[in-house]
Subunit: 458 residues, 2 copies
């Protein structure tokens, strides 16, 4: 990375004056670092840089660029070099790249790829059939498969040949398949090295292979890989046929991506597709405005509740003074519950069917926390400068805090479970949504308690 920043200032010049020297200088850099450089250059210079690289490196670099930059590069390179670059990519990256390009560009690239390497174009069509967020969308069809009667020494020879000729995403696992590509077992390179060279793969393979279906959600694929500490997981269809593998490095990205999506949803934003700075302003405003407007309109109900209780307010203006304090305490307690449950659901610690256990816990916690805050609220109201009848006011405030905190806790815990039950992402029960709900309900509770206590006492 130090090298990258040293190269920075002179890069443009070297690019024009002496591309050969640049090529040598970049040789030792990781494609990720070259991608960082290429991301910081002007578009034309980035195209020149990519042109100066060997095509396998250029392919690795392009696969790591942001979608916008990828489009510029692929359109700037010209059809032939672009197709050459596609051919050098691993199939899963190739599909990801084609999917992020504008439709016209992608279609014409596929048409040209069809000419140059029909199997690659066919592979693209097959992989594109799966949803991006599923095992099928993550998998690569480049894996090593051998029949069960292969001897260990043959398998090692075969691996050598495969690793040299084509780029299997990982040669660290050999998938042993029988008739009709049916997955029978897996042999790790470690097992292979440790085994007697004359044994057959069927003797050394592990049979109960953990596997996923192509339609499985990427989050559940990540759970499987995490649970069993796998380097890669095979994807098989209903007949047990090998379709591809999902590797752990893709899963790390999935985990990070899902956490970011959840955090954005929880904050009340439609998840961004690009990074913070790479999201265009128009897109950005739109993804925030959607939820903000919905929440604002929902919050307008608070004004209706207030209008409905105008007479009570006129009668005791002190009540107004504690409104922000009381309604926010419900929102805060609810935000705690929802963030705990959204994460617990995401990592699989809690399932929707555990709702009654959750309910028991949260009711207890809500009442307990409500009582602590209620006491503080009681004291604050009792010693309030403006109170005409301090004890009554303090009773109303204290009791309302207990009720509102309990209610907020319940909304915050049950809403994520309910939303998950409906098959949606529980993270949409965002903190602002829970705060809005609990504001409206909190006001209703507050005025009800106020009318009750004031009527009883007066």
């Amino acid at each position: 990375m130090r090298l990258a920043s040293l190269l920075g200032p002179d890069l443009k010049e070297t690019l024009r004056m002496d591309p050969e020297a640049l090529r040598d200088a970049l040789e030792d850099l990781h494609p990720e670092d070259i991608a960082e450089l290429a991301g910081d250059l002007d578009p034309e210079d980035a195209v020149m840089l990519l042109q100066s690289l060997p095509s396998d490196v250029a392919a690795a670099v392009t696969g790591r660029l942001l979608p916008e930059r990828q489009t510029v590069i692929m359109e700037g390179l010209g059809m032939e070099p672009a197709v050459e670059l596609l051919r050098e990519m691993p199939p899963d990256d190739r599909v990801d790249l084609l999917q992020s390009l504008p439709d016209a560009t992608s279609a014409s690239l596929i048409a040209h790829l069809e000419q140059a390497e029909p199997e690659a174009a066919e592979e693209v069509r097959e992989l594109r059939a799966w949803d991006e967020d599923t095992a099928g969308g993550l998998m690569t069809p480049d894996f090593v498969v051998l029949p069960p009667d292969t001897k260990v020494w043959q398998a090692i020879e075969e691996l050598r040949r495969i690793a040299r000729e084509k780029d299997a995403e990982t040669i660290y696992s050999i998938y042993v398949c029988g008739y009709g590509d049916k997955l029978l077992g897996v042999v790790s390179l470690r097992d292979l090295i440790l085994s007697d060279p004359a044994q057959a793969l069927s003797d050394v393979m592990t049979e109960n292979v953990v596997r996923v279906a192509p339609t499985d959600d990427q989050e559940s694929v990540a759970l499987v890989i995490r649970r069993y500490d796998l380097g890669a997981v095979p994807v098989t269809d209903a007949q047990g046929r090998m379709l591809g593998i999902v590797t752990v490095d893709d899963v790390v990205d999935v985990v990070v991506e899902e956490a970011t999506e959840d955090a954005q949803l929880m904050g009340g934003v439609v998840p961004l597709e690009d990074s913070y700075f790479d999201t265009g302003l128009r897109d950005f405003v739109w993804k925030r405005a959607t939820w903000l407007i919905i929440l604002f309109i929902a919050q307008m109900l608070t004004a209706n509740v207030m209008e409905g209780n105008r007479a009570t307010l006129q009668f005791a203006l002190e009540l107004a003074i504690f409104i922000p304090l009381i309604i926010s305490s419900g929102g805060n307690a609810g935000s705690q519950s929802s963030s705990l449950l959204i994460r617990a659901l995401a990592v699989g610690e809690v399932r929707p069917k555990d709702w009654s256990r959750v309910l028991g816990r949260e009711v207890f916690i809500g009442v307990f926390l409500g009582c602590i805050l209620g006491l503080i609220g009681f004291a604050r109201a009792y010693f309030s400068a403006s109170a005409v009848e301090p004890l009554q006011l303090a009773l109303v405030v204290g009791a309302s805090v207990v009720a509102v905190v309990t209610m907020g806790t319940l909304i915050g815990s049950l809403l994520p479970l309910g939303i998950r039950r409906l098959g949606l992402d529980p993270a949409v029960s965002s903190t602002p949504l829970i705060a809005s709900l609990s504001d409206v309900l909190g006001l209703l509770v507050y005025f009800a308690i106020a009318r009750l206590i004031l009527t009883v006492i007066l």
Copy 2:
């Protein structure tokens, strides 16, 4: 997993009647699945189950249990079997286990381990020196290291020997070290298989090895592994000496753990150490009460602001009606900004020094979103049933929404950056904290605008 649930009901019986049969039945199960079984059993049965397993499997299972259950098992097994189990564990898991046990249990286990295997006890002491959340705390000292003049065929022989004799965490990378354990390069098993057996490792190794320091935070280790798609990253000291390696499976767990911590902080909860259901009620209440009480006390400032504006409220009670709507719009906008920036900081998309770019973006967005919501608010107030002077009221509400939304956006975006600048986790600028701040400031702004417009017009 299906097998696990089938075994469930009969497990206890088999355990007592025919431990041999159980042992056979469990042989094909992954340690993770056995750990799930052991987690569901009564403590005594879990100890019996562990006793019935071969010690290497028992070690793998114990390493995957929750801390509380681990304590029960280790204390229930008796000293000798417990030490035996420790010896079978990979060093990083061994240290994690010892750290999660009560101090007395852990100390006496280490004393007995000292007798049985002094090197293992020494390793434990060395690894414990590093903070749990750093590269040093994650690393394992079990890696394959060979001198640079080793021939490729010798290296393969050596790997065979190592993989058979002791459990290197990964044999997929060989670390080539020179005088004084200085890391010179790395050779993957893939490179090894592809190379001419007569070549020296120094000829086939990759020299610019990406590495981390033992004091590096676990989040930055995760970033490095993600960035370069590594299976493992070497940890070296200031002199370039190899201390250990951090493997990708540990990093997946780190990424998930950090995301959970962030989500809990963002929701206003002190992060839990155990899972949702495994956290004791007392601990749970305390971790929520801390923040809730702080926020409640901060929110009491809203009552002070309201009291200070009692005269204005008495003069125009309509103003009270829109208070919940106006202050919540600031909180919601702020919650969006903070969740976007907390994640962007966590994944490294935004750095604190980018604050001026962030500020420019967020001011624009804040004003824009404020204007949209302000218009809706203006309309709502103008057609309000209770308004005596609808135009004035609508002007006050509309202008306040614009100001409050802009302010909320700025607080939500700059607070995480500032907190990160102070070296703290930006996620502590939780949604409830931002909502509380923006409630107090929002009320001040609202009353100021109200007095201004009402004075000018009246």
